[in-house]
Symmetry: C2
Subunit: 326 residues, 2 copies
């Protein structure tokens, strides 16, 4: 593993102008990895443009370099670094318009087990709890001292992808990595308050509406979200505001599902599972991806159709699986 | 500080039979500290009885020694160790019936800044995020190797008193302490799932009812809970199930208040504040206690009277105070 990190560091040091790109619908981990690596490269005097296919949520505006994030990277690049993206579809439209035509090396850094190894060089570590945690090793390989401006985005990525150290892939190494970033000047309290533990008042309205849709069927708790519900609550940012995690936290449930019925005969489905239960196969079979305990996909059909189909698939998938802690 | 720890270790090693006692309305930290210290003393062949004034929540039944916790300690003791309790009132009725009459030394180990130093020997460290974190140093002073059965309750205490490393007093040392406990065999995932991230389906019903009472007045978000609401939802364990933390997580709020109207002309008030805001003075002035960002008290009066009085006091208290992250 350290070989590929050294190779990646070598390519980054040789590059004249690189593009650091993360996945669409950006979350804290991809934003943290892009901004943390960008800041480390800046310390070396290297030009690295941070880009995302979609605008990032405004709550991450406290991160150094946030204002530099672009959805339309301009100019030419001699190196591309994809961060936290399992395939090139999640880099669109930037992949087709900027990356593929350039014909330059693509470094693929990710921790998703569903990564399809699309890079010229692939560093994929499913044991890492976040891509941001992996970037710490890369910063070390680049021989850049860890400082607050690098540490704050990386700590944000670790916190957000582990939901505040709650996911089952959080190891003692994850905690030590976080404590090292804190010692470098990143405030865990600031990250928790600004990124994880922060929701608009309007989100309570939306939670109330989602609460009224919750059903518990066997070991599956599910709820529905619609654009109409969002509009009635003033369209708060960030979808369900973590409501799906509440579903899977229920003692009676092994799986939490959120159906986001967009109304155009397509339903986005969010999956969460307790440790010991793996629902990533269902999401993958439906054209999506993710981790054993957190995944997502979009399914064509009416809410009724999609719900029946997904519930049936999940029921079959978890038959014989047992949660670790019951 | 290490002097007092060595003295406490010395007293524990000399004692023939000690009582380890925590505060009423027990939470994860007091349960973790009592059970972790008890397990360490067992390794030394010392008899130590773990006691609490009230029955602990059943979700902590996975902790080693949980079944030994008693609300009615019998026999004689030559040493008393109070854990996580700021005063003797929170040890009642055991303090008056068992501890005071014995006339033996009382060791007071706590991390609450409001501790009134009631012990023969007082070890109070307000910088510690939890009493359980302090017990790690005591286990070391006792020269007992850290093992899973000691580490699991202590990790539970750390996680619960920091709300999963979310409170602003969580330091890099807290994370290192937790990683050390994980290396000793305690599963953070198990603690998160069983203790922190676990609620009965019935709690969703209660959250729905509390949601309908939420009001945002200036920088204060408040809600009401009543025994009638609890009964309508099947009386789920553990009060509000963490709903008050949702209130203070709102971007518009600096303070979250939960009024538990018990209906007997007394209202329990829970206080939460964002980092930078200190509401412990209000709780203390009303006869309660706690930390700058988390406190509680019980106030005589009707819901209307108590709410008006507390809101007014909080408004005055936070006037001029600013949240660190806005």
């Amino acid at each position: 593993m350290s070989d590929v990190i050294a190779q990646i560091a070598g390519l980054l040091l040789q590059a004249r102008r690189s593009l650091l790109i993360g996945h669409m619908d950006p979350d804290g981990d991809v934003i943290g990895a892009v901004l943390g690596l960008r800041e480390a490269l800046r310390r070396l005097g290297k030009e690295a443009v941070p880009a995302l296919p979609d605008r990032p949520p405004s709550k991450y505006a406290f991160l150094p370099g946030f204002a530099e994030l672009t959805t339309a990277p301009a100019g030419s690049f001699d190196l591309f670094v994809s961060l936290d993206s399992s395939d090139t579809a999640r880099l669109e439209p930037i992949y087709s318009t900027v990356i593929a035509p350039a014909g330059r090396p693509v470094i693929n850094i990710d921790h998703h087990v569903t990564n399809v190894m699309f890079g010229t060089l692939n560093w994929v570590d499913p044991k890492a709890a976040s891509t941001s945690e992996m970037i710490i090793s890369l910063v070390d390989a680049l021989d850049v001292p860890m400082e607050r401006e690098i540490a704050l985005p990386l700590l944000t990525g670790i916190v957000m992808d582990t939901r505040g150290f709650r996911t089952s892939n959080t190891t003692s190494d994850t905690l030590r990595a976080a404590s090292r970033l804190m010692d470098a000047g990143a405030s865990l309290g600031e990250v928790m308050e600004r990124a994880l533990n922060s929701r608009p008042y309007a989100m309570l309205c939306l939670w109330g509406k989602m609460l009224s849709t919750v059903r518990l069927e066997g070991r599956i708790a599910w709820a529905v979200l619609t654009p109409a519900m969002q509009a009635e609550c003033g369209n708060p940012e960030e979808g369900d505001g973590g409501f799906i995690n509440l579903l899977v936290s229920l003692q009676e449930a092994d799986v939490g599902l959120l159906f986001y019925d967009k109304g155009d005969h397509a339903v986005e489905v969010g999956f969460r599972a307790k440790p010991g239960i793996d629902i990533s196969g269902v999401a993958f079979a439906l054209g999506g991806g993710g981790h054993p305990q957190a995944a997502g996909c979009t399914v064509e059909g009416s809410l009724e159709e999609v719900r029946a189909r997904v519930l049936d698939m999940v029921r079959r998938a978890i038959d014989g699986q047992r949660a670790l802690y019951r």
